[in-house]
Symmetry: D2
Subunit: 385 residues, 4 copies
């Protein structure tokens, strides 16, 4: 199909953070164009944003319901192909549902939904709709994360025994939500975020990364969930001891009150033969630590990587790729699936290697179990979907 | 002007490296669309590339002369606004000249031209044409390089005394040009690269970075220019001792035969009160080293940066931006100038902070002086434009 | 008192690891000489070791009981002043008890004893003897650890909220104890190590470091204690969630099966105003992370450190000091106390800033609580002494 | 010979820097004891220093001439075995000469002497005396430097092509010598230091390290030698381009005015097959960079090192050794030679792997050539001994 895919957007007004990232990521590879959107609950902001994105006024909507209905009636050569939903958590489910029901593919920010019920319902809708849903667990888009997964799969670590994943941030070390900061406000508001604060915002990323790389599911959780900043309504700090399905154990730490930390997601996996380490702030490096020789600094863009990583690399070694490229890789994989779908040759989704609705359901189950464990006197709770 | 800028391209076929980077960079911010191009000397490759980029066949050309002529005759609402020239060095001058003479703005890969004469001629053409030319000295697009420049300008280092700039690569440590590698082939061919190999390819980046950050011009050079790999026709290694206009001294090292190195451009500047250090492979960090206190890890995306850096940052701290974003920043600044030009409100070009034709002329003078010094018994040669 | 202090030694034969470290550390500052010892349970090894250390045969003993008795009868100008006990854990209590009862000061490897009962008993003996006991929790000897403690004490972090301490090693990732490795053999043997393996060997170091730097006591533990290598008799891996007395929470991770890891003790402390980070493998650096400015790289040997650190620094900045120097710092502080004692001017022991019997008792309580928690279904256990 | 070696000392009073380092280093391994010394030109300081080092008053001298004469008359079982000379450069030659002539072995701080003439004369005296002289080019004592040398020797790099060695310090970025700082005062005084300031103090270390690791001699120098701080009498900054005997080329940078730098000696060597990198501030790591695979982090204390390194390692991996241990390794090798000499089984000195008088002569030739090149209009000067 010799044209760009046409993207609509829910959320992502001109001053929003994650919406801008989605656009950078979607545009980078030259295969997606923005054709319509409802960029804000405020019609004026939505309109101004649309102008800034060079959209004609008739493709800037004031409600997503209108957008899906109108777009679905447009002729083939104009109609949007998919929608990116980049609103706060409480406005994930409904637009996603409507989009799918109107025949559009969906890209959606994590977490999948506001609560577990929505997640399970959405999974059903995806399945019945036959449409494609991608969930932007961005960090799995990094080439060296894919290389790490490849290392585990190909047996370079031996049987996995120990998994440490941590995600310290510091931006909520003060009561930022009381200063007019919008990012902080909705993330600390149970009405918009759901039952998890830190757990949902970044804990889910950490859990997803650990499961993605190791291929092992968390089975049991013993969590410590805290509110560290006075008067905050949702957790801003958590830790958990984990059990995995093969008998591996692990520790997950996520916090938003680690003063001075930025966005230091880090994964360490240890097997019987070797360990590996990956740090999001230096994403082009994967440390591989064999038990009996020097650690190896495996680097993006080099000639010795697996196809799993190479498919997502744009630059030669030493030309750093970053967060936006990782994001763009999710879009790249999703785009590939959508093109195949349009050609009628869609393969099983797991072959496209992007996070989808099942990851979203697991994420919500993780949040639920963490929060429950945090309140429980019982040491271990099962993580069940 | 409420539309995207329309880009044409010379070079950048589907298998080329730097052309793809230009497109990623140009597209990322959503303000540029590719509308036409001549992507290869081979018409078939050009056509296939155009298809891959979703261009209509009538906008895929077989010669840049044709392209400029045809495009200049198109109506306002279709005609390209600027051309990106991403061919090897010997095909920089003519397309740039023709583009300017046909009324198009130009983005051009460095070095500006094949030799000094072309560079001087091109400068004249730019000046007489009134068009805008941006030269992709990518590394000056990094936000933390801009912050470094800001540190020097605002006096945080005191008077600059010592400048070390180094650029070790290892990819030409073997005779790669004899294996069919196109990148290696043209870069080591005097007919395509000009008088400098390593000096022109990466030495110019190093010199440009040092001058950009410190605001000081190199005045004298004492160079050592070497061919390390047998049968190679151009230098693959160089070093130079430098004098700068304020009395500062420096050392420049650039090599392509440093086995195992990737693309490790690094700048260190020392003043009377402090030093600073920036490394391209970890571009979101600027080390600031005051004489009497702990070194400071200045980071992209934080709240304490200058406007000079902030204008070029897309993500919050800890979400790494990389090489493509730096590249996109050159395009961002260039785009801003072009929009202003279209509105009739173009400011003096230095206010847009992107490398232009003067940097290109200096770069060619640097190459010439380096090569001459390498062959000379005289210790110091003046770097004159 | 114008002479070196005279050290005896229990353990530390010519092939032992930690005994050699004790001697390097004790000798480095030129204030301690080795005068006698029982270096092995094997008399021949003990004798040969003594010869290697240039001791006369009559000062090389075959039992510590003999040594203490004989030495106590020697004239003042010959008699040892203190004994260093560097045997496996099950041979800590008795020699320490006998030494103290015979009037000798004691340096003893951690953990203090084989079990809690011995620890409590030893504390009584120390108190009643009036002698000085130093426990080599080496890591608190590092100058930058002392600077970290100073940072917390002086309020630079504000109220401490979160503490992460981790100690990954990889040397027991294989069943090394079955290969004749002595270090591995006794450390994995409950008859020699006591109830804790990894918990006692390195978990105690981690807990001690966290409490030392923050000045906060662990009050509650929720632990996960594992045996990862088949047929091993003691834990080789543990993790715990912690509560501290001021409401701070924390996570402790210690493992000996992290394939490829060396000895990567790391402490991170986050307060309301700033965080800090210290890593044992790069011990001359302390990262200080204020909430509103660049992280600071605080370095040993610089001019801006506190007296707390400066008293333990031998070299100017950039001349790295290491593990043996940290060890020597414990001896330096202990030596200072012994000299004062001999002069009759001993100050309260906490002013000398070395770990002592109370730290040892806490360490044994930590081991006990960790092991119990690991077996318990109850989520949180109190850490009580 | 079953006793410690007996050391005398010239210089190294209680407030001196490098003398204290020599003592820590000499004592650490338990094979050397200090028996006498002249610790200062001021008799009172010398006496007080001797007391602090627990020496009897009759072994504390007021002139080195007296010391050598008296000591040489003492009976075998008391007489010092060797002297460590730790005075400023202008007081190296005479005490060394007298010591050797009186039958004592010598350890001497670098540079070997005040000027080239003294160096050549001293070499003759060493040769005729049959005594052993060690020169404390400390950095060659680091185990990972020895491993680096082993890597080159064993062919892991292939033919060496490029050598970068740099030594930036910042402590003389201000006119510290005018503030009463003794270290700064003598180092910037041509009457005490000789013809080189920075060149002699640290440039020689850099050159020695490069030659030691690569086994290649510098043959030609093109130098830039600067005084950066006003009114200073000796160079505080230098750089040089180098040629080596096998055709390799290199760059040497040494400066004492790099504001904020500590003591960052760094060596990089690139061959046809691989590169290596070693940094003094993180001395337990050697980076090995093969041309076709991941860089390897070769670490001290691991099981895979060569004997060359292992002979100088005291701790297992992850227990950092530092500058004092490197210094102690020079003493360790020297001690080994002296013991063999006493047993009548001295091997050729190069087998003991410590720097000696030939290194000292080369060092002085390096200083002389650098200074001459700095003043010369001729591009390249030969480095001749």
């Amino acid at each position: 199909m010799n044209r760009k895919l046409r993207m609509g957007m829910v959320g992502g007004g001109k001053d929003a953070f994650i919406g801008a990232i989605h656009r950078h990521a979607a545009f980078m590879d030259g295969k997606i164009e923005l054709v319509c959107g409802v960029f804000s609950v405020d019609p004026q902001t939505s309109l101004e944003s649309g102008q800034e994105y060079f959209l004609p006024a008739n493709r800037v909507y004031t409600s997503y319901r209108d957008m899906f209905e109108n777009e679905s009636k447009l002729p083939d050569e104009q109609r949007m192909d998919f929608v990116s939903i980049v609103t706060p958590n409480h406005v994930h489910f409904e637009p996603a549902k409507l989009a799918l029901e109107n025949g559009f593919h969906v890209v959606i920010e994590k977490p999948l939904s506001f609560n577990m019920e929505e997640a399970l319902e959405l999974r059903k809708i995806v399945q019945s709709s036959g449409k494609i849903l991608a969930l932007t667990h961005t960090y799995t888009g990094y080439p060296m994360v894919k290389e790490a997964k490849h290392f585990v799969e190909s047996g370079k670590l031996g049987k996995v025994r120990k998994i440490y994943v941590e995600y310290p941030q510091g931006w909520l070390a003060t009561p930022l939500e009381q200063t007019g900061n919008k990012q902080a406000a909705w993330r600390t508001d149970p009405e918009q975020s759901g039952m998890g604060g830190c757990v949902g915002d970044i804990g889910t990323h950490a859990a997803n990364l650990a499961e993605y790389v190791t291929g092992l599911k968390v089975t049991k959780i013993c969590a410590h969930v805290n509110i560290k900043v006075e008067n905050r309504l949702l957790d801003d700090d958590c830790a958990a001891m984990l059990e995995f399905e093969n008998g591996a154990t692990g520790v997950l730490m996520a916090t938003q009150i680690a003063a001075g930390e930025e966005n230091n997601l880090k994964l360490r996996v240890y097997g019987e033969k070797a360990g590996l380490e990956w740090l999001q702030t230096e994403p082009n490096t994967l440390l591989f630590k064999p038990i009996d020789g020097p650690a190896q600094v495996v680097r993006a863009g080099t000639g010795y990587l697996s196809n799993a990583a190479n498919a997502y690399i744009r630059t030669p070694a030493g030309h750093p790729e970053g967060y936006i490229e990782a994001f763009a890789n999710i879009y790249r994989a999703f785009t590939s699936a959508v093109y195949d779908d349009k050609k009628g040759s869609l393969k099983p989704l797991e072959q496209y290697d992007f996070p989808g609705v099942d990851d979203g359901v697991r994420g919500m189950a993780f949040v639920k179990t963490m929060i429950e464990s945090g309140k429980s006197d019982q040491k271990w709770l099962n993580l069940e979907i």
